[in-house]
Symmetry: C2
Subunit: 199 residues, 2 copies
């Protein structure tokens, strides 16, 4: 019995991590107001009061979960240095789309949901977009990126977000077709950006 | 004197329209919390109290202004039926980019700013995106749009939003280069979508 009690007693950073992990699994709404605190506390085997000790408001909890979701998304899509340019891009995109399919509510929250008037959530979305753009530039071995190419890559990140949201909403498009369009549009967008500089 | 007083007395719908018009000119923040109600009431020559009679909260006012901004954006980018496909697209895109350059804060608010946890603002953004996508399909004379094409057009709307935001943020890219990239990416995205159906 004593062992069992000790096993459930987590230090503060472990408890925080456990609650965020439960949040990642249990959040199914795009609104911080609708965090199911009671269910999460119950699943963690703690009181609602203790949850609020770690996260003073639902929004604080939501921000922590969104930050972790963004970290996960960037982690699973980390470019594989063993692969060459387009293969590397393909692997990252496939991981992105698969992560999103498994974490639909969190993804919508990250891209659209709560990213609006909340400056902190907005910053998480923006940093994720900026890092995605930076990785594309790096993965493709682009150097001395001019403004047209930078803008095109940022635009492509928007293309990825909107096509992925549309795919989630309708579920009538083959995953591989989605990936093929996403990849080709990047190549074309870069060609258009480079070409436009030569006019 | 009597005439002057009467001239300033607007009927409720005129007063509402006047306040929204002032909001369109004076809003320079992406947050409903920062609507400058005092300045707007002063510019309209009415009391703060009367403004709140028309719009009970700052958010109500902000939503009304955002709705009007979305309406303006769709109005100035209305496709010209006299023009043929790509010319029509070019004219609408140019009008879009010019409108955005003149209404930066409102555009950011519409695309990103307050569109998050506020369901009504989110709906305004979504409807504007959906209508933009519908117009592209119509302007290009596309019929029997399959899921891949629909997704590509939605993605392109995201591409337009992100490239336009990047252009506003950095102001280091020629407007015509931006437009050229935006146009070419649509053509390529449609080709990629159609091509992916044949694989």
């Amino acid at each position: 019995m004593a062992t069992r009690t000790r096993a459930a007693r987590l230090d503060p950073s472990e408890r925080r991590a456990q609650l965020i992990e439960l949040g990642l699994r249990m959040l199914s709404s795009e609104s911080p107001d609708r965090v199911p605190v009671d269910e999460i506390a119950e699943a963690a085997g703690i009181s609602r009061g203790l949850l609020f000790h770690y996260f003073p408001t639902k929004r604080d909890f939501y921000v922590a979960v969104a930050r972790e979701a963004a970290r996960h998304l960037l982690e699973v899509t980390e470019p594989d240095p063993e692969l060459h340019h387009m293969d590397r891009l393909h692997a990252s995109l496939a991981a992105y789309v698969d992560y999103v399919a498994d974490n639909e509510a969190l993804y919508i929250a990250l891209v659209r949901g709560a990213a609006g008037s909340d400056k902190e959530l907005q910053a998480i979305s923006e940093e994720t977009r900026a890092e995605s753009a930076r990785r594309v530039v790096e993965a493709l071995g682009l150097v001395d990126v001019d403004p047209g190419v930078r803008t095109a890559v940022r635009g492509w990140v928007g293309f990825i977000e909107e096509t992925t949201l549309d795919w989630l909403r309708n579920r009538d498009l083959d995953r591989d077709r989605l990936l093929a369009v996403q990849e080709q549009v990047l190549v074309h967008a870069l060609e258009a950006a480079v070409g436009s500089a030569l006019v």
